[in-house]
């Protein structure tokens, strides 16, 4: 099978800005999001929801252009066969049960009853709400409402899923199931674009991250890739070895070493370096010289540290 042209496999934003009157939503955002799980990360008000609303045409850019798999959001008839969006709004049409909600909105696609019924049950099954499907949504817990919104977004089998804070309000078990569902969807070649301000979650689920702050994209790419882009931000590495003090004396041979600190348990050394590559080469030499190295692992190669570095500890801590 011939793969689709590149343009038709990307969610692309070109120099997109959106202002709410005088207030900045997002500014000069240029992104090309490939299939897989992509996390939009940022504190409240950083522009995550604005970006998602722009991708789905709920708002229009003040400047720039948006294309989802080559389709403009101004063309809802094409766009929403490709895209499913679970918004942050915890509101539902009144008086509907979970099943009625999914079914009724599938009917808006113009599909016949039997097809809509089948798709509705399949989506409800994917979020494990079969038992509650005939109960009124008004009586659902927060977690159930999140799941029924997710079911509604994926009911028509879209190639792009845009999910605004989808893990909010889920208990740990359901959270794990939902993350597994995201992975399953991504493995099928779909775009799963999620937003979160819980960085721990992002680390667990993302193939790519887009870091946002005050309406600007401050970094994007694979987590490790983003990390290595920040040359002047020291990387922290934990080396487990038999003689950490001796190792500490040796590492300062490199001028790129910023700090070396004995680990609290006495069994390792925490090193901060501006050039991880040179440090790893030095470490290889040291290992040959007789210090027994058990393990080497990045101690802060996660979104949290990157995010903290990029936009400051104050915001990351929110």
């Amino acid at each position: 099978m011939t793969p689709p042209p590149l343009e038709e496999s990307l969610v692309r934003l070109e120099n997109v800005s959106r202002f709410y009157g005088e207030v900045l939503g997002v500014n000069r955002v240029t992104l090309a999001i490939p299939p897989g799980i992509t996390s939009l990360v940022g504190p409240n008000g950083s522009g995550k929801t604005t970006l998602m609303n722009l991708m789905t045409g709920l708002i229009r850019p003040t400047r720039g252009s948006v294309r989802v798999l080559g389709v403009a959001p101004e063309d809802p008839e094409k766009l929403f066969t490709l895209v499913g969006y679970s918004t942050q709004f915890d509101a539902f049409p009144r008086g509907l049960s979970g099943f009625q909600f999914i079914y009724s909105f599938l009917r808006l696609f113009g599909w016949p009853h039997a097809q809509c019924e089948q798709l509705a049950w399949r989506a409800i099954g994917r979020v494990r709400l079969n038992g509650a499907a005939h109960r009124k949504i008004a009586g659902y817990s927060k977690g159930m409402r999140q799941r029924i919104k997710l079911a509604q977004a994926l009911a028509h089998d879209p190639r792009v899923l845009v999910l605004d804070e989808p893990l909010n309000g889920l208990d740990p078990l359901v959270r794990a199931e939902t993350i597994a569902l995201f992975r399953e969807l991504a493995a099928e070649g779909r775009h799963v674009i999620v937003s979160s301000h819980v960085l721990h979650e992002v680390d667990l689920i993302s193939d790519q991250v887009i870091l946002l702050s005050n309406g600007y994209v401050v970094a994007e790419g694979k987590i490790q890739g983003v990390r290595s882009e920040i040359r002047d931000h020291p990387m922290q590495i934990l080396i487990r070895c038999d003689r950490p003090a001796a190792l500490a004396a040796r590492v300062f041979e490199l001028d790129s070493i910023v700090e070396a600190r004995l680990h609290a348990d006495g069994g390792g050394l925490l090193v901060k370096t501006r050039d991880a590559g040179r440090f790893y080469r030095l470490l290889n030499r040291i290992a040959l010289e007789g210090i027994e190295i058990e393990s080497v692992a990045p101690a802060d190669d996660n979104v949290n540290s990157v995010y903290e570095y990029l936009i400051g500890g104050e915001e990351a801590g929110r």
Partner: protein, 349 residues
Amino acid sequence: MIRRYWAQMRAVIRLEMKKTFLSRRGLWVYLIALAPVLMFAGHDLSMMRTREERRAIAAAHPVPAGALLAVQPGMTREEVTARLGQPNLDARQIRFAGGRVRRELLSYTDGQSRYVFGFADGQLQSITVRPEETLAQDRVIFATVFQFFYLRLAIFFGCVGIFTNLFRGELIEKSLHYYLLAPMRREVLLAGKYAAGLIAAAAIFTSSAALQLWLLSMPYDSSLPGREIAAYLGVAALACLGYGSVFLAAGLFFRNPLLPAAGVLVWESANPFLPSALKKISVIYYLQSLCPVAAPPDREINPLLALLISSSEPASTVFAVAGLFAVAAAVLVLAARRARLLEINYGTE
């Protein structure tokens, strides 16, 4: 393509119907629609009671045929009672400062009309006949209620409640985005919502009008002509069509649709005073033109205001119906353009 649009419209209508018909917030729409029904039901009850009373009186106090009509002013009380027998209602006295003047009232009925004879100092001075109400009289009363209450207030405000909520209500409840995330043209969404509102409003208000008309003719042996009934029901439905389009658009253009609704109410109320050309830019002008019975002018209107009333020929049926459809279509085209540009920004609602 067209088939898909129809399927999508039907899906929108299904979703909207339940909300429109069964909304607790919309209960007042039923109340204003039913207000004239209650009024005519009350009128019927009172009329039937009066009729029964008169028949009972006529049975207890039979009056010889033609004798009531033979009573003439100047006759004495004794002459009248000699001809008609004992009255069912007799006498009252009034004292005047200058002397004692006896006034008496004698009441008779032949089972249908009531005759009240007024005597002063024993001589018949006045004869008041209160005949049974007729369908012709009640038709005029119905025309007045229909044009001045039902069209201008009940249907008007009912449409405000139903149609402004179609978009504005969902913006307030933060649930409109579900529609906007479906692969559906905004024009189809607008058409579906409008159709749902129209079905609901027309069902409520034409049912109420039909009930009113049934109650109107119920006490009589004859009934209204079928054409007249059809005309009233048609006018009620067309009122929903016209006002519905205006208030659907108001819900899209204005954050608080009550302000434009007040503006439209003033404009529609001022219609009799507008120059002929401006009269035509309204819904009520066409609706009144289509009403089968003209409502009588208000006799108690201020003479200065009466001078300001501009007379103009009512529109022909074809022109009036076409005019209403044209007004509704023009407003819906504007609303559709607005819907295409609609953004979801609940924070500002």
